[in-house]
């Protein structure tokens, strides 16, 4: 249930995320030691254009990647196809984008 375009987007979003995931994992291991607090997280992210770009890009890539990945799973497992499958993919993409960007906005602008 993938054509070349969806396949391409799936792989490009994956490649985009490779360095982002590495940073994310490193940051998690670093930040969690010695206790994590809301203040600590927000002090890092609030007003930071760099973190806003980092997480904004991450949300964009993960939304595309998850929407296409779930599309394949839903098709192969439940046999959903056609307009319903396309609608499902778009809903996942948009929901993930909206929730994700809202989260980025929250930790950067709050």
């Amino acid at each position: 249930m993938l054509n070349t375009r969806l396949y391409y987007l799936q792989r490009v979003s994956a490649m985009m995320m490779a360095p982002l995931v590495l940073c994310h994992i490193a940051l998690m291991i670093y930040a969690v030691q010695g206790g994590l607090s809301a203040g600590e997280i927000l002090s890092r992210t609030q007003g930071s254009v760099l973190w806003a770009l980092f997480y904004g890009l991450f949300v964009l890539a993960v939304s595309v990647h998850a929407a296409i990945g779930l599309r394949v799973i839903v098709f192969e497992t439940f046999g959903l196809r056609g307009i319903l499958l396309n609608a499902f993919s778009v809903v996942v993409l948009l929901a993930s984008l909206v929730l994700g960007m809202r989260a980025v906005y929250a930790v950067v602008a709050s």
Partner: protein
């Protein structure tokens, strides 16, 4: 039940990649929701973050870190398979992905407790 024709390491590697991807996709909305509380309900956001060090939550977080790492390394393996010249070391690469993910999950666990 795993049918006989599927019982080889690279099929397991596929299944691990699919299940980890699915689990991460399902976790994502929750992750985003908690972070967005920073804007809408700062007090609740704070109390959510307090939980991070509860032993059971640490175990769950370690699981998530493992899933992320295994999807990451497994994905690198697939991209190498598709875009680089073929290597016959597919099983070795899959085993490396698994081992590296355990290493990262352990590193997270040790720094979280």
């Amino acid at each position: 039940m795993i049918r006989p024709h599927r019982s080889h390491p690279l099929w397991y590697a596929f299944m691990l990649h699919r299940l980890s991807g699915l689990a991460l996709a399902l976790f994502l909305p929750f992750h985003f929701y908690v972070l967005s509380l920073a804007l809408t309900n700062a007090a609740r956001f704070g109390s959510f973050i307090e939980w991070v060090h509860h032993p059971l939550v640490v175990v769950a977080e370690t699981g998530l870190v493992f899933l992320l790492a295994v999807h990451f390394f497994g994905g690198l393996r697939l991209i190498a398979l598709e875009f680089l010249p073929w290597t016959s070391r597919q099983k070795t690469l899959a085993a490396f992905a698994l081992a590296a993910s355990f290493f990262i999950a352990c590193a997270f666990f040790l720094s979280a407790i």
